[in-house]
Every structure is written in structure tokens, then in C-alpha cells.
């Protein structure tokens, strides 16, 4: 990936991410988030993470965000009314965010020299990012977290059903 593709792509990602938090209508926010996630999937493809990119679209854009849209439409939410008294909070939050960004970026400013690893320009083995490679790692080194995840999903399913169910009797 060259700068010529990276810069426009990341600019689009940032614009749509801003759209998520600045749009007053939740549906428009959700759509901006969908575009952001799709563009991130494109970026994953450039980073040789093909399976993760496909999962990003199937799970995030195809399922999670559709659930968001479904709930927004089900509840028939209207656009938010802007509130004047929140201006101070907005300024404070933005300032805090910028300070955090500065602090978080401080160690990374400059080149990749300080980062451990082989770097972005080296050759990529054929198996990198394939389903086989991820599966290998997932079922050997990460097998315990993987099994715990299944319990987590089960609990989430039960919790969602119990919470959203209308009271019977």
C-alpha cells in the first residue's frame, strides 16, 4: 500500500467516523459507521488480512450494524434536538481527546525504527492472513480463549432474550 492509496482512504475513514458522532439522526450515524467499517475492511485487505476483512464485513457491517438499524427503525427514533447547555462539555471533551491523541502518539512519532518487527516493506509469506493460518493459531495457542468465547456468546444470547422479552403473565 502506497501513500497515494493510504491517504485518501484514511481521510475518508476519518470523515465518515466524524459523521457518526456529528449527525443528529441516529440512522445517518449508523450509515456513516457502516461506511467506516467497510472502508476499514478495505484497509485490512491492503494489510494482507483477507479473512479478517471478510469477517469485518460479514459480522460488523452485515450483522451488528443491521441490528443497530433494526432497533433504530423499530423504536422509530427521531433526530436529536441540539442542546445549548452542552457546549462546555463538547469543548472539554474535544480538548481531552486531543490531549489523549497527543500523549498516545508521542512514542510513535517519527519512523518505524523503534518498533519491533520486520517492517511493512518486507515480503509476505503466502499463508499470511489465510483462513488456514488463522485457524492454526486459533486452535492451538488461543484454544482456551476460543472456548471461553463460546460461553460468552451463550450468556449473551440468554441475556438478550431475557432482557428483550416482553413480560408473560
Amino acid at each position: 500500500m502506497t501513500l497515494l492509496t493510504f491517504l485518501p482512504l484514511s481521510a475518508l475513514i476519518v470523515i465518515f467516523a466524524l459523521g457518526v458522532i456529528l449527525n443528529r439522526h441516529p440512522i445517518r450515524s449508523a450509515l456513516c459507521l457502516a461506511v467506516t467499517l467497510f472502508l476499514l475492511a478495505v484497509m485490512f485487505v491492503f494489510l494482507d488480512a483477507h479473512l479478517v476483512a471478510a469477517l469485518q464485513i460479514i459480522v460488523y457491517a452485515g450483522a451488528i450494524l443491521v441490528l443497530f438499524l433494526f432497533v433504530i427503525m423499530l423504536l422509530n427514533l427521531e433526530a436529536d434536538i441540539p442542546q445549548r447547555r452542552r457546549r462546555n462539555l463538547t469543548i472539554a471533551a474535544t480538548a481531552a481527546g486531543l490531549v489523549f491523541a497527543g500523549v498516545a502518539l508521542r512514542p510513535f512519532l517519527g519512523s518505524d525504527a523503534g518498533l519491533p518487527g520486520v517492517g511493512m516493506s518486507g515480503p509476505v509469506p503466502d499463508t499470511f492472513g489465510t483462513a488456514a493460518a488463522i485457524g492454526q493459531r486459533l486452535f492451538t495457542h488461543f484454544v482456551l480463549p476460543f472456548e471461553v468465547t463460546s460461553v460468552l456468546l451463550l450468556v449473551a444470547v440468554l441475556g438478550a432474550v431475557v432482557l428483550a422479552k416482553k413480560k408473560i403473565g
Binding site: 450509515l31 479473512l51 464485513i57 450483522a63 443491521v66 438499524l69 433494526f70 427503525m73 422509530n76 483462513a131
Partner: protein
């Protein structure tokens, strides 16, 4: 470098040149088929010199022209931007999903081997699943942006239905991934060129009949056709999520319906019916199990494969049209029951059974 790009462009044009006219023709086949199934005379108004079969030409030319020249109405209070892009969002993902469907084996031109598949992606079938899961956005957006209660209800129904049926679809595809041990659709199609017991083509349907049924039912539900057309059920919701669409935008929703029929047919034929495989046809020619053999040049073999894939797709398109005009629409609770209590558990059991069978055959 330039020649590579030209080859890819030719492949893209060839696939689109097959898909778009077929989608248009399906509109006519559907009217004609419904008349046949209803045992009535139908679809004979558009004819050339009294020959109704030529009405197909009218459907392909006159219908799009009529749609294109109609007024494009955007209702008051609608979200103009979203109302306009919703049909595009609906059509685009389904069209790009064709990129990974292989329509033939390797074509030899000079000393160059051309893989007859637009994009040989390693994640192949996952890509189709991803694109089909994006199709729901067009429905949701069209329903919401129209500022119409019927549209909104259609959009809500559509989103719930498409999420629900994506799960059994994914489960059926996982069973096929287990069977072939690859995600690449071209590899899957090649694996189906072998023979069982020396005479039966090793098509997926013989290994995974249950997964085939699940995928077909879920596929029809994903394309929102009768008996699963609750998002647009005209007796309750006028036209559901595209009630407020006219002109070329309506045509795009209309086309999406048929392109989805074709992609489901393509997926089913690739996964379960050998894709481009012709029984007993190998890279050198026919080799029949009773010993006879016919040698064929590469170009003839490739043509036979493309024709075979096209015929399979057309057959399944016709099959879906037949289902549409035979089975009445489900009630909404029946739809959800079928998805969550019928297909989903069957899909899970099928995966476990497949995994056990594969373990047993591998260790034996």
C-alpha cells in the same frame, strides 16, 4: 501488465454481459412461467408478428426504456440523498459478488493460462457471503428514506428476515467448506471433477444433500421472493420497501431481485452441482467410465464448461421461478419459525455430522 488488465476487463464484461441480459430475460420467463403454472394464457401481448416468443425482445428493450423515461418521484419529507442511493446500494453488492464465481477451468491462449474466474480470492465463498450480507442495506435504506409507513414496515421486516436467514446460509456453506477443505470456489469446482465408485460424478449434492436444501431455502429467503416476500408483500404493504420508487430506481430494485436469483443459482450450482464441470469431461477430453474416450481441443472443452455452467444456472433460475408460483406466502411467525427453529438446528446438526464423518474417513 497491460495484457493482464485487458484479460480481467474482458472477463468482467463477459460475466456482466451474461448476467444482465439473463436478469432481464428472467422478467419475461417469470411472466410466461406463471402463466404456464396457472394454466392460463399469459404474457402474449408483447409479440412480434403474432409470435409471442419474440416478446422476450420487447421485454429486454422496451421495458428498460419505459422505466428510464418515467418520472422519478421522491415523496415529500423523504431523505432525498438516501432515497436516491438506496437502489444503488441494493444492486451493487449483488453484482460484485459474481467476481468469485468460476465459470470455467483454465483457458489456454498461446502459452498463457487464463483462469476463468474474475477474482481468484483465497477467501472465495466468504466473499460471496459478505457481499450478500451487504444487500440488506438497500432494503433498510429504501424502507426508511421513503417516509412512508408501508416502506418502513417493509424495511424492518426485510432486515429481520435477512439477518435470520444469513445464519443457516452460513452454516450450509461451512458444511461445504468442511467437505472440500478449501474456501476457494474454483478449487471446490475442481474437486467435483472426480468420480465416486468410478461412475458417479463427485458433486456436492451427493455428499451434502441437507446443506443443499438449507442453502436453497435460505437463498430464496435472502432474495426475498415468494414464499418469503414479506418485506414487499403487496397485499399488506403495497410494495414494501420500494413502494415509493418509480422510474429507473424502481427498475434497479426490480433487477436486484433477478440478479439475486442468478447469484443464488450460481452459488448452488458451484457448491453442489459441479460448477462448470461436465460429467466425464477432463482437461484432455471425454473419458467415459466404460472405456471410450473422445479427445477435444482446449477451446472446445472450455466452451462446453461455460455452456454447462450457464445451463445449470438457468435451470436453478427456472426452479426458483417454479417455487415462486407454486407455494403461497408464509405468515411472519412461520417465516421466523422456519429460520430459527427449522433450518438453524438442522444446519448445526449437519455440521457436526459432517465433521464426524470427515474424522472417521480420515482416520480409517
Amino acid at each position: 501488465m497491460l495484457i493482464e488488465i485487458v484479460i480481467i476487463l474482458v472477463k468482467i464484461l463477459a460475466v456482466l454481459g451474461m448476467v444482465m441480459p439473463l436478469a432481464g430475460a428472467l422478467g419475461w420467463i417469470e411472466r410466461k412461467g406463471s402463466a404456464l403454472i396457472h394454466d392460463r394464457i399469459g404474457a402474449n401481448r408483447a409479440s412480434i408478428y403474432g409470435f409471442a416468443g419474440a416478446g422476450l425482445v420487447n421485454t429486454l428493450v422496451a421495458d428498460p426504456l419505459k422505466f428510464a423515461t418515467k418520472e422519478d418521484v421522491i415523496p415529500r419529507g423523504a431523505d432525498r440523498l438516501l432515497h436516491t442511493i438506496a437502489p444503488c446500494i441494493n444492486l451493487f453488492p449483488v453484482l460484485v459478488a459474481f467476481a468469485v464465481l468460476p465459470f470455467g477451468d483454465v483457458l489456454l491462449v498461446g502459452d498463457r493460462e487464463i483462469n476463468l474466474q474474475i477474482a481468484p480470492l483465497g477467501i472465495g465463498v466468504m466473499y460471496v457471503l459478505a457481499m450478500m450480507s451487504l444487500g440488506v442495506y438497500g432494503v433498510v435504506l429504501g424502507g426508511w428514506a421513503s417516509n412512508n409507513r408501508w416502506s418502513l414496515l417493509g424495511g424492518i421486516r426485510g432486515s429481520a428476515q435477512m439477518i435470520s436467514y444469513e445464519l443457516p446460509m452460513g452454516l450450509a456453506i461451512i458444511a461445504m467448506i468442511l467437505t472440500y477443505g478449501t474456501l476457494d470456489l474454483q478449487e471446490m469446482a475442481r474437486a467435483q471433477g472426480e468420480l465416486i465408485w468410478g461412475w458417479l460424478p463427485a458433486w456436492g449434492i451427493f455428499y451434502q444433500p441437507v446443506a443443499f436444501l438449507i442453502l436453497l431455502v435460505a437463498g430464496i429467503a435472502e432474495s426475498k421472493r415468494i414464499p418469503f416476500d414479506l418485506p414487499e408483500s403487496e397485499s399488506e404493504l403495497i410494495s414494501g420497501y420500494f413502494t415509493e420508487y418509480s422510474g429507473i430506481k424502481h427498475l434497479m430494485f426490480f433487477m436486484t431481485d433477478f440478479v439475486e436469483v442468478i447469484i443464488v443459482s450460481g452459488l448452488v450450482s458451484t457448491l453442489f452441482f459441479g460448477g462448470w464441470q461436465v460429467p466425464y469431461l477432463y482437461s484432455s477430453g471425454f473419458e467415459f467410465p466404460w472405456g471410450a474416450s473422445i479427445a477435444l481441443p482446449n477451446i472446445a472443452i472450455v466452451l462446453l464448461q461455460i455452456v454447462s455452467f450457464t445451463l445449470k444456472i438457468v435451470f436453478f433460475c427456472w426452479f426458483q421461478i417454479m417455487i415462486r408460483w407454486t407455494i403461497p406466502r408464509f405468515r411472519y411467525d412461520q417465516l421466523m419459525h422456519l429460520g430459527w427453529l427449522g433450518l438453524l438446528p438442522i444446519g448445526f446438526v449437519n455440521i457436526v455430522a459432517t465433521a464426524v464423518a470427515i474424522l472417521a474417513t480420515q482416520s480409517a
